[in-house]
């Protein structure tokens, strides 16, 4: 979920002249706008991105853990597919989804 004000970037764009290359002067980049909210998925991801030690720490993932991780990914995706077709019973299951639903 993007918590930034959708008008924020628009407000920051200033007209500076007729020259196309300098037509807009973006005084503050969108990335500088503070984002708050501990439960935000993006925040969690962003924090992880800036903390390199986390990725390095998890490079020691064992083959057994990898199997569990892939199983969780697969089953999560299957639930989402089943939910999609339950929500709209008019659509028919595509071949790709049928393949993904089968273990």
């Amino acid at each position: 979920m993007d918590r930034r004000d959708p008008n924020q970037e628009q407000q920051e764009v200033k007209y500076t002249g007729a020259n196309n290359s300098e037509f807009f002067d973006i005084s503050t980049s969108a990335s500088e706008i503070p984002v708050s909210g501990i439960e935000s998925l993006e925040v969690g991801q962003a924090r992880r991105d800036v903390d390199n030690s986390l990725s390095a720490e998890y490079s020691s993932i064992t083959p057994e853990q990898k199997v569990m991780l892939y199983a969780i990914m697969l089953l999560s995706a299957q639930i989402a597919i089943a939910r999609k077709y339950k929500l709209d019973s008019e659509i028919t299951v595509s071949q790709e989804d049928a393949d993904r639903l089968a273990l």
Binding site: I61, Q65, A82, Y85
Partner: protein, 143 residues
């Protein structure tokens, strides 16, 4: 009877409105449940996967989307004060990131990863059969 309602509506609303616009259609083609309702049903199953919940307590465990699993626990202490905690397990290609308010986030490993893996398998098995009426192995509809 219809005239009486029409007159009553006219008095209340101040204009002559037809009753037809207030009739609710019973038919809801193709859209039986919303996604939120499906998730609530799934959560009822998810909450029972870990044994009984003590009286007065509440538990939710559900798959929000392919990349997020939510665990919610609510309980009341001896002073009748209600506490709750929400844990989000984010599914990444390189691990399961555990995000909980007020705690450092980290990739889960060991017993916790095993427990989550087991819970997800049980959840999948149950919701596929009980809610989506599909064979968990083949994904095909169960007649």
């Amino acid at each position: 009877m219809k005239d009486i309602f029409s007159k009553a509506l006219k008095i209340l609303i101040g204009s002559d409105v037809s009753l037809a616009s207030f009739q609710v259609t019973k038919k809801r083609p193709f859209k039986e449940l919303t996604e939120r309702e499906l998730i609530l049903l799934e959560s009822q199953i998810g909450a029972k996967l870990f044994g009984p919940v003590a009286a007065g307590n509440r538990r939710e465990f559900f798959n929000e989307d392919p990349k997020n699993w939510i665990w919610y626990e609510e309980w009341t202490d001896a002073d009748r004060k209600t506490h709750s905690t929400t844990t989000r397990y984010e599914v990444h290609t390189d691990g399961i990131l555990k995000v909980r308010e007020g705690e450092p986030y980290h990739f889960i490993e060991g017993q916790e990863l095993q427990n989550l893996s087991m819970a997800v398998q049980m959840y999948h098995e149950r919701v596929m059969r009980d809610i989506y009426k599909r064979d968990p192995q083949t994904g095909k509809l169960i007649n």
